[in-house]
Assembly symmetry: D2
Homo-oligomer: 440 residues x 4
């Protein structure tokens, strides 16, 4: 089962610009963490590109190299961080404000973090109602805002001697919108930019700018952003990989872990109640019903696609699924999820599972953000373009080809990720059949 | 990737005897459930063979037949239940005593359940200290006890017009023993039977009897039983499939679901504390330290094999893992597990997961027991013999070939199960690569 | 410390009409339960009047009679149940619909329950938006609706040979309103009845009718109802006892248990997050923001009054308190609360308490309803009129004299209840001083 | 109801020696905390003597002075800390090792903490099996060990210019022993000291030494210690107050909060399962079955005395109560309790409560230790001697006069504490009757 079509991958030479719209808790936890790891102050726990291994060949060959030994991943030393934000705070000030990492650690990283000063953001208050930023670009048209972003990218790369760049949306969740005509093809979209079409959200302007510059774009929030025909067309034309939406972290990570178990075991579901309390800026933004709607849609779709009610009507045809998020300042970034899951087993007898996940939003998101950035850069160097469904593993609401359903099951996503990496490296895919171990 | 070596599978014609040493809560919940399903009184929820589907081909082909449509599984109508027990209660009386199913339902099934009367058990009080049964066979040697069991099997098959049989250990957990010389090869073992070697447990006598009769044997408890060179040799010589150990139900099911997520995401583990309260006969038996030891070994090994501390010393090199079980009568069969999981993320920051699983022991075990019986019968008809590692999915402590490690990850186990079924049916194995969806 | 002013209490002779506006889950669980207890089918667990004992004298006197032996409580045999509802279902049909009690038990009580047929309700859809009843009274003025209720009361008492009656609001939560001029005194209120003032809610018409008939009124919901100067004036004038508001059952019961502990131990509070999932009609009604507001106000005030932030600013000056309720059908009447409590101890170090209360709404409420009815009848026979603060123990939002704060601490409420009963019986009050045990 | 027998209380003049056998986590958290509070670095949260207020008179008088304004409590500035330990570490080193308080804070208190050097302990390995200390006194008889302790006390008081002293056992839990003849009266006990009777535990030698010096003794562990006729006789003869046993902190604190609610509401109990995980030295010691037995007895008795099964056989006649403690290093001092409580309500319907208390052992214990020391000193100055039952509030297993039952209900304990303080100050006792608020 050796694949014969091993692709050619350009080596990870030179510097990589990692640019984030949004320099809040997630982005600064990422920046600070990478700087800490580079200095030997901490381990990059939670990062698949940094710590993950991959089994190759048969189980008894004992071949499990690091992923970064199997495929050429950019080195942490070669990353240069940049970002845009609606507040002028540098990464040190912003990280201090976010209260995710201990001040002690931040103080040891003061110099590199202070050097990361945000560029002025593209911002529209109607898209994020609870934020009131001042550090924002002004221009008569969305097109010109986009051009300013393109200039920012070029300037950053030049100033920092970067050969490649990736852009990763780490900013707030925008209000919910449905795709409309202006998102239907590239020409309409670019006309909309010119005409200040209100259906073009700031995040779309960032994505457009990145793609125009040939920079891969990934979306850590549930906004529509890159998930439109117009921008996917641009990605294809530019030969650039893209992926979204929404970092898969706390409660959804857990949900896409437990739901596959229920289905694997054919246990029925009567209801799944999820509540979340968090007290960071993200929580504040999601207190706005418009932003919450975007998040809710992203979070609710998960169960339906994993459980396939149409195939299993007796088991999953009628479950209630409720997701709520509450802004609760005492928890700060230490998000806490509580899930009450009502299941049924043999002959319909009811059982219950309760999960209390006392997690940390940005601590879970930062390594995911790093992995996405490094893998999408790998994809670009491998000549892959458009949607990178093999990266679904990292997203709450993974983009996918038309006509397919999204794959939400964390373990199918992992198999897809790993077999794609094996494929890229020309290694045999793993099927776990393994009958040969038992042949005489 | 179509396999060319599709095996020939004999059709599932005629009646199948499903024989259980032990007619307590699990076995009677299985018997009653199957009878209820046959009468349209309930759904066989939790059973992969009855309700499970399997995706074939590409995602957009929409081919997901029932597993039992893909491979020839014995029909429920063709099963005849029989068992042995240390108490003389018939299945109706025993199920009533177990208080798992509602009396209302049991009363509707009184006739078929009363007809299942236990044969006298082979029992040794030193192996199960908390039980004091009276309905037991007597004979001067263990060999003769085994011969009596063989006669039981033959008589049951004849009386019930069965063409095939499987034996499934549903009795109590025996005290912990390590393999010794008497288990080293078949000759020593059979000499030990003759000499009443104390290291030969009752469960081994059942397994020996089954194999001598050409009957597949599976082990739902963590006892050593079939997991010895002697009996595996016998299985091979007889050409009979076997598998064990220990039904994977409540807490371990959850553990082998969550641990793979931690590892998939490279989240570190500092400690995992598991406690269980249950109040049924199983709980009473496990209150004996010897029986608990057997269970504990079965439950503890799980994390080590999933997390691979040798490959990931920074993440999994030093975690504490504690498993406790408490006999707590108010819960009866409604076992309840509580897990406190201390994990660490990005830069080592700690987070916590708590899981409270309010399950029902026998409700989870019964469909697993059914699936094991039906799949091992399928294996026999497919000419597979010895250890059936592809059935690891159903076991807490799956047996495996020498030189391999056991696979505990529920999702790898599921892939192995499904790809084996695809293989048996001559269908292409699924790798989830799927890059072709994105080719122009 | 023997009180010398022991009041005279009329004996509990003759029949007592227990009349409930609302014949839903709570009322029918009460009716069915009392009928079951009368027939020896079940125990009146949760009822202080039926099972509670009270210590008298010194600890070593071992005097702990039943409360109902100390003071004259009406016997269950003497109660006659009646009610009003917007649906025409009799108590058997309504209890069956509510799915609180097992059908088996209800079927044994079919006869007495079917005999309880609701009288037509006074209903205004603008006060309870999620209900659409048809079994309602019609009249040109609210005054006339009130007169119809008075006639109902008289007719019921006559038909059932009752000497006394009490009315207990067991219907849905009405939308939130603040007291206004029409509630300011009795004359304005009665003019409002005549003029159909929109600020007069249905529950107020019931209360007015009861008081006019000299019938004690208690309020099991958080509606304003009797908590206005106008109706309190009427109660005083008529010499009738009244009390409210809102049965203290699940989450608030727990909250008023744990908060007093925190304060007793001077542990600080940073935040208290409470969420509730329930799937009965009550949950459906509370899904309407207006009704929820009424409930929320009732639930939120609890902590402030127990913790006294003004006296303890360092401990309780700045806590976040959030209460949410979610309509979640899978739980039906089996309400489930989850509380996440962030506390701080010595030197400000944080700790957490999580409470998961898997309760049953009506099972908790029914005995409370019974106790309220029986105690308010006792109050009437003891010549007590107006607010009965000593019954605070049973209410989420207890009414109290002007110029006082409400007492929410469950244990102070209990002391108040018990010392009042001791006082009524002419027994010494208990102070728990007890130094005399240690005198030589 | 003004008491006329207001006692005379000597003022809290001069220095108070607070001496602790055991200078581990609890003692050093106490020492460090008081030093931090004295320097304005932190608040004495959790301490009733420091932050508690007490209501006087009627509710509408608004008189709630601080307790320390009502009765003369020793000032923190006047306390001098001393202790004995089996390890020679000073309080700074020991606190650092205990990992309870942040190193940052400890470093600010390095000077005063380093100055507290332990005196050599009286230690017997057969009484605390998991500890292996070296910093221990040697002498041919237990009597002489006691005399050495007496000399230690005198020397410490002289060196530190103290006028008064109290001794508070903060050391490990000793193995379980039952009282025997040697504990029966003082003469036997003192003979036993001379004869090295094995039934005299080290803690008893400390208590004897304290009493001989006229120093009040309190016991923060569940050991028998002062709870024997012999030592109570000595306390009476010396006119010294004593009290024990076992600081009431995490799980038992919660249990004595929730159980009174169940009883107040007449909710039945079917079972209460409590498990505890903790990873400090205390956890290690309790891993020894002998020490655990002592703790278990202390923890188990609580429910029986609160719930009074003899008075309420239908509600509390048959509950299962199980308490387990597991040594689990990842939690360190951050003890975590999980309680699963099976209750029954109206007509016997079952409900469940789960409580997860993520507490910190020493953070809860330190203010309790402070309060005990300051209140027992108050008792001494008030001429109170022998058992101080009014301090039951702080103890898991409160000592009490013969012929009485212990009072475990936290809220009765609190009433007892507060009314005793009112009594000491000549204030009216509070009964919460309050009918006068409603008189015209």
């Amino acid at each position: 089962m050796k694949p014969t079509n091993k692709p050619t991958i350009a080596p990870a030479k030179g510097r990589l610009a990692l640019l984030t719209p949004g320099m809040g808790a997630v982005a600064t936890t990422l920046f600070a963490g990478v700087e800490a790891v580079k200095r030997g102050l901490a381990e990059p726990i939670g990062s698949v590109t940094q710590m993950g291994r991959i089994r190759l060949g048969k189980r008894n060959e004992n071949r499990s190299p690091l992923i970064k030994e199997l495929v050429p991943i950019a080195a942490l030393e070669d990353i240069r961080f940049g970002g845009w934000d609606v507040f002028p705070d540098d990464a040190y000030a912003s990280a201090t404000h976010a209260q995710v990492l201990e001040q002690d650690l931040l103080d040891q990283l003061k110099e590199p973090l202070q050097a990361i000063k945000p560029m002025e953001a593209v911002f529209a208050p109607e898209y994020v109602k609870r934020l009131h930023g001042t550090h924002v670009k002004k221009a008569p048209t969305k097109r010109e805002l986009g051009e300013q972003l393109r200039a920012d990218i070029r300037r950053f790369m030049k100033d920092n001697g970067c050969d490649r760049a990736v852009m990763l949306w780490c900013a707030s969740t925008e209000v919910y919108i449905e795709p409309s005509a202006v998102h239907g093809d590239l020409a309409s979209f670019e006309k909309g930019l010119q005409d200040n079409d209100p259906a073009i959200a700031p995040s779309m302007i960032y994505a457009w700018a990145a793609l125009k510059e040939g920079v891969p774009f990934a979306n850590g929030a549930p906004n529509l952003t890159i998930d439109t025909p117009a921008l996917l067309q641009l990605a294809k034309e530019q030969g650039v990989p893209v992926m979204g939406k929404d970092f898969k972290t706390g409660q959804t990570l857990m949900k896409t872990t437990i739901a596959p178990m229920l289905k694997a075991r054919m246990l029925g579901l009567e209801g799944w109640f999820s509540t979340n309390i968090l007290g960071n800026r993200d929580g504040e933004v999601l207190d706005d019903p418009g932003s919450f709607k975007t998040k809710e849609v992203s979070k609710l779709s998960v169960l339906e696609h994993i459980l396939q009610p149409k195939l299993y009507p007796e088991l999953y045809g009628h479950f209630d699924h409720k997701v709520t998020i509450h802004y609760y300042p005492p928890r700060r970034d230490n998000k806490e999820g509580w899930d009450a899951i009502d299941i049924k087993g043999w002959l319909g007898y009811p059982m219950q599972i309760k999960v209390n996940f006392q997690c940390r939003d940005s601590i879970l998101a930062a390594p995911v953000a790093l992995d996405i950035a490094l893998f999408i850069d790998l994809a670009a160097r491998s000549g892959m373009k458009g949607i990178q469904e093999w990266m679904s593993f990292f997203f709450k609401s993974p983009q996918h080809a038309e006509g397919l359903y999204p794959e939400h099951d964390l373990f199918i996503q992992q198999t897809k990720l790993k077999n794609t990496l094996r494929h890229l490296a020309g290694e045999e895919l793993v099927t776990h059949l393994g009958l040969d171990y038992y042949e005489d």
